[in-house]
Structures are given as C-alpha cells and as structure tokens.
Symmetry: C2
DNA sequence: AAACTTTATCGTAGAATTACGATAAAAATA
DNA sequence: TATTTTTATCGTAATTCTACGATAAAGTTT
C-alpha cells in the first residue's frame, strides 16, 4: 500500500507536499529554474541537464502533473513554460508553512 | 535504476531537492508543523495523525535522514525537535530558489 | 516480579520513482 | 519523397516509498 492517504489530510498540507514532490528531484529544480529565466524546448533542457532525453521528458511530465508547467507546440519543438498561477498558489502555501517555522527561529 | 544521480547536480540543487523530499508527504509537513510549535513524543504525533504508529516512526526516520529533526530520549518516551540549523540551511536554499522565480512573477 | 507503555525495527506487499534504450509520430529539411 | 529532427511514449529493471501488523527492547507501574 504505497498510495499516500491524501484524503485524510487537508488542502494546505497537500499543497505543500505537492510542491515538495515537484521539487524532490534536483533535475526538476534545475528545470524550473531554467524555465523561469526563459521558455525552453526539450532539446534545450536535454543539452543542459546530463540525463537521457526520455528521462527529461518524464520529469517534465511529473512537473506538468502537478500543474507547475504548461507546454506549447511550435513546429516540431515543444516549448515549456511556468504556470504562474499554480506556481504562486503552491509557493504561497509553502511560504505560509515556512513562516510558522520562522517565528520559532531565534 | 531508480537511484537519483545526485552526484551530477550541484549542492544547491541537492539542498532544495532534499527539502522537497522531506516535504513530499502531507504527514511529514504536519509533523514539522507540530514540532515547530512544541517538541513532541511519538505517541503525541500518533494521536494527532491518523496513521499507524509504525508509519509515523518511518516518517520521523525520513525527516531525521535529511537532518531536519533530532531526538531526545526522556524516560520511556522519545521526544523529537526541529534541528534549527539544518532547517535554516535548507530553507535558505529553497528561499533563494523561490526568489529567482519571484523576479519573473509580474 | 509481572504487567503495561512507548517506540524502533522487521517483514511484507503493492505502488511509485528513476533511468535508459528503442521506437513511433509529427514536423522540417534536403 | 527520403531523410533528419524533435519529443512523447513504451518496455524494462532496480530502487524507494507508503502502509500496516507483529514483535522486540527498554522504561514504568503495580
């Protein structure tokens, strides 16, 4: 039973953990950082990140699953970009959670 | 080959993804939030989070693996607390990464 | 000492993740 | 039209994750 029991946790906890999952691999962190600077196609990302093209595609799919990025097909290339509203949504859930911690921090 | 190729990514990316992994389950987010408010023993956490005691222990082990929490044995109870320095370290790596995104946000 | 409490660990099982090569589909180029 | 480029998807394999019950170990209580 490796299915996370999401249903027993409220929205806020799931939002934070969704963002966590998206950030839970260095390649995905790198992808997000690259896409923040500029929209990029898969071959651009594959050049910059030393993983197989199919693996990069898989990571993009994972980010898309959490709604963090969108895609636009231009000719034979697929350009990816940050989904700002979803990003902001998850970011604020995380920031709120971190703030609570900051209070405790001396 | 499900081993994440951590070695090919730099420290900053790995720090962010480590924090991501720690936050990648709602139960762990909840645990961190509870421990920020007050140090707690396992039975306290098991009362608050609707998962089996052994599962809670596993999540605590995961958080400990990433250095986010420490433990202190008092009598027959094990109290857990936030490891502030590690927490701050990972938090700042994440915050720095988020800041880059904020610049882009309109 | 016997019974109880607390918690880590073991064993197990199913699901998800990470990784790659191979291949298919679609567009661009020669 | 044939070839090349680009990218998603399939197949596969190893590893990790999530979850629980059972149990062991260590302390507390009766």
């Amino acid at each position: 039973m490796a299915i996370t029991k999401k249903s027993i946790f409220n929205q806020q906890y799931n939002d934070v953990s969704d963002f966590g999952k998206a950030l839970a691999h260095p390649a995905r962190v790198m992808i997000l950082e690259i896409l923040v600077a500029e929209n990029r196609c898969v071959s651009d990302l594959t050049e910059r990140i030393p993983l197989a093209q199919s693996t990069i595609s898989q990571h993009l799919k994972e980010l898309k699953k959490h709604g963090l990025i969108d895609t636009e097909i231009v000719g034979k290339q697929n350009f990816y970009c940050i989904n700002q509203s979803r990003y902001t949504e998850l970011q604020s859930a995380l920031t709120q959670m971190l703030k609570k911690v900051m209070i405790q921090t001396p």
